[in-house]
């Protein structure tokens, strides 16, 4: 629809869509910065041979209580993913796999958007992707703790 249309409702919708596109593009650039700094960090750890436990300490909540916080398994999931063990990463913390897949699709779509001159549209930031992520974090935390409490299974 033409954004110069005089109907207020349409004008508001067009402005909101433009704003979401701007926010999505900002997130794309932030994602590039994140990837760059992450790569530098991994290279530094590998070259200086610093163990990951010195950078990210083990979970204190788990050490004290024996149960899992929402982030437990995240470090192992990232390490497994970097080693190409996607299934292991999924078992350790499914949010890591989900977020990595979303991140890759998001970044590639926006790169194609720029290269093709908007012929292929970049993925828009939308609340549903975050709601799914939050649900994954909470559900996996609850499931892990139920398995630990009822059956003594440690993950």
């Amino acid at each position: 629809m033409d954004s110069t249309h005089i109907c207020d409702g349409v004008m508001n919708r067009d402005h909101r869509i433009d704003n979401v596109d701007q926010i999505s593009r900002l997130c794309y650039y932030a994602g590039l910065v994140f990837a760059f700094t992450g790569l530098i960090g991994i290279l530094l750890l590998a070259v200086l041979q610093i163990p990951i436990s010195q950078v990210i300490p083990p979970c204190a909540f788990h050490s004290v209580t024996g149960y899992y916080c929402p982030g437990c398994g995240g470090t192992r999931a990232v390490i497994a993913m970097l080693h190409g063990r996607i299934f292991s990463s999924l078992c350790y913390h499914p949010f890591v796999v989900y977020m990595t897949a979303y991140y890759i699709v998001f970044e590639i779509s926006h790169t194609l958007d720029i290269i093709t001159g908007h012929r292929i549209r970049g993925l828009r930031i939308g609340p549903v992707y975050f709601y799914v992520g939050i649900a994954l974090i909470i559900i996996q935390c609850i499931v892990k703790n139920i398995l630990k409490y009822r059956y003594g299974i440690s993950l």
Partner: protein, 90 residues
């Protein structure tokens, strides 16, 4: 007014992202998760004050930030208690 409403959507998204980051790092890297949670709460409150856009995301960000503070504060309190106990023992 439109720009304010649209700015609210950006703040809501930022609040939710910070809330998720704080939730995932809640007690392992609490020196990152606590500032993220505090900023997430502030952004969520600013976004919720009269803005229509992104209200759901602001509420989600607020809840995640508050929930993430619980294990982080627990870890700090336990750490302080441990240090006190060690000092008393020595």
């Amino acid at each position: 007014m439109e720009q304010q409403a649209n700015g609210g959507a950006g703040l809501s998204i930022a609040s939710m992202v910070l809330g998720i980051v704080a939730l995932v790092l809640s007690c392992c890297i609490y020196y990152i998760s606590i500032p993220c949670a505090v900023v997430g709460i502030v952004l969520a409150i600013i976004s919720l004050k009269g803005q229509r856009d992104g209200k759901g995301m602001a509420i989600a960000g607020l809840v995640c930030s508050i929930v993430s503070l619980i294990p982080a504060i627990f870890v700090i309190v336990m750490g302080a208690a441990l240090v006190d106990g060690l000092n008393a023992y020595m």
